[in-house]
């Protein structure tokens, strides 16, 4: 309820209304979100595919993590900034959107997976398998989990636009609960 009220307040701010009603700003931010999707998810996917041994087999993993990962991080920042602005334009509806909530959970899982991989034993021993075309099982697992999560995140992100489970409809109790509808 507290967050609901906060979102309501946000939705009523001049900036949020301006963004929501703008002729071009919202569309341009959407476009930036799609462009950075190519850069961010595109590069993240190629690290995953390398970890799975499906491509770039002659490129050492350390080359990807030192020369591509910084770009992935820059793209991620752009992705978050554009994503936050998109949220800010339609805060209340998005906050109660089932797919937005799913996407948020999946993002946390993707972050956890990346953290575990980069801080785990397998990455500390990277020197041992850096140039190997066939990577250790733990690395493959990290790549596969990341790949599956990013695909699911793209799906849930795209679905936020659809109002199938919006709170202004009469929904089954379970949907109401997940969406946190205030009736």
């Amino acid at each position: 309820m507290l967050l609901h009220n906060l979102m309501q307040w946000m939705a009523d701010t001049e900036w949020s209304v301006g963004l929501h009603e703008s002729r071009y700003a919202y569309s341009i931010i959407e476009s930036v979100h799609v462009w950075t999707l190519c850069l961010f998810v595109g590069f993240a996917i190629f690290l995953d595919l390398r970890l799975l041994g499906l491509t770039l087999k002659r490129v050492p993993i350390s080359q990807i993590t030192t020369r591509i990962l910084p770009w992935t991080k820059v793209a991620f920042v752009l992705m978050v900034v554009s994503g936050v602005l998109l949220f800010f334009a339609i805060p209340l509806r998005t906050y109660h959107n089932v797919f937005f909530r799913l996407k948020a959970v999946l993002l946390v899982l993707a972050a956890l997976n990346a953290w575990v991989f980069h801080n785990g034993g397998i990455y500390r021993r990277l020197a041992e398998w850096d140039t190997a075309a066939t990577t250790p099982r733990a690395a493959k697992l990290a790549g596969a989990v990341s790949l599956a999560l990013w695909i699911a995140i793209i799906f849930s992100g795209r679905m936020i636009a659809y109002n199938w489970f919006d709170c202004d409809k009469l929904e089954p109790a379970i949907v109401d609960l997940i969406a946190g509808c205030v009736r």
């Binding site: 799609v34 996917i45 595919l49 490129v59």
Partner: protein
Amino acid sequence: MLLPYFQAIENGPIGEAIRGSTWLFPFIEAFHLVGLAVIGGAVLLVDFRLLGIGLKRQPVAELARDAQPWIVGGLVFMFSSGVLLFLAESVKCYYSAAFWIKMTALLLAIVFTFTVRRRITTADDRSVSPFVMRLVGATSILLWATVGWGGRWIGFS
């Protein structure tokens, strides 16, 4: 002139079926976006290298060879899902400037990728000047970015 054809396409059985379903169109869209990420990554990996950033220690030709199947596969995947989306709303596309911009950019991007860019990325690194590499990388990014932008804007109308 083309409008009757677009109308006939929209009224076809596949278009009808996709429009008749709540989930189908959004799901195909999402698949289309996953394909975009794959092709985006594959194109940018090589274009960054051409610009002199990213995987600088790898020869251009080696990276391009690795990326090639993902570009071709990504294109086939995007084309299949894109055609389905088009079948569902061809008349809307007909009246959309973004659609025509996208298709023009797509044609240019494909021709450029499989002629000029392919030639540069299969050549020996030392036989191509850094300036030409940068030019080709920048052109490729610009063309593909226009395709992506046009695609997103078909939805805003």
